[in-house]
Symmetry: C2
Subunit: 179 residues, 2 copies
């Protein structure tokens, strides 16, 4: 089954998913943040079929989230190291972890994020570092950037209209909004 | 192709992905945040096959991220509304958007997050609301929670050892670390 490519889409979330939206990719990145670098480490941690792991690692290398480095010549062996772009993904993992903890652990948490100095459990929230304000839906929202296409502008306009008039069906169509 | 279930895994990221890790699910949630509620709105926005959209919407309803509500009796028509759990997903989307913008838009941004009051482009960062500190990898990290299984503890121990001794292969195995 071949997935449609999200890469032609102009949405930054779609382009992000083009790199990490395949099954396993995000868990491989998680393990890379745990310090795993070698094929057998990922394989044992994830209990994943080797051919699938090869495929996903190759895709993550192509997307420049991991770098493949040889660490042994005889036999030839490679390890996979997070690139800067890969390390940049950490806030997404932490937001996912927080959401997972808050919603799917009726039996209690298995992993918490803690402040290393105080040992206290952290509560991750997204804040705008420009204004210092928590990014609530009331105070922050999406806006067309300089490279927005017609389709993106239409989706944003739809959102803005719905926000002002939640009960109204906007009078423009969302037709051909993908661009 | 049947995907392995991540739900038996004890990791909060894996459990989160169990709900949103399928192709399209996250883009459907994105559109729900844009105010879309109806099948045809999602369909036109995403240019997705109707049977696939039905499948993904049903899964999101089962995972209690969307609620299905009838809005017309004749003909019977339904809309899909974000639940509290679904709305809780917003920080993940914003972190993904920021990562996408920073890494995959050489031509300039098509969507920015802005402060509605000032109109300024926001810079989302993850902050610990308990201590008020930005959640850097230096100051924050994962720790076993009360419900951690043996496998989770082993992965955490691996990460802690690698952090202290990045060049060393830890002397314990990551064997059967999935639990």
């Amino acid at each position: 089954m071949q997935r449609k490519s999200f890469d032609k889409m102009q949405c930054p979330i779609a382009r992000a998913l083009e790199r990490v939206g395949e099954w396993w990719s995000i868990l491989i990145l998680r393990d890379a943040f745990y310090g795993m670098t070698r094929f057998d480490e990922f394989q044992k941690s994830l209990d994943i079929a080797p051919n699938m792991l090869t495929k996903r690692l190759t895709a993550l290398v192509e997307a420049q989230l991991l770098e493949r480095r040889q660490y042994s010549e005889k036999p030839p062996r490679y390890e996979y190291i997070l690139t800067e772009r890969g390390r940049d993904f950490r806030p997404v993992l932490w937001a996912l972890l927080e959401w997972g903890n808050n919603n799917f652990f009726p039996e209690g948490h298995s992993v918490d994020l803690v402040n290393r100095k105080t040992g206290k459990v952290a509560k991750p929230v997204v804040v705008d570092s420009v204004s210092g304000k928590p990014m609530t839906a009331e105070d922050f929202g999406p806006k067309a950037g300089p490279a927005a296409t017609e389709g993106v502008r239409r989706r944003l306009a739809f959102g803005a209209a719905k926000r002002l008039h939640p009960e109204l069906k906007p009078d423009f169509s969302i037709d051909k909004v993908t661009s």
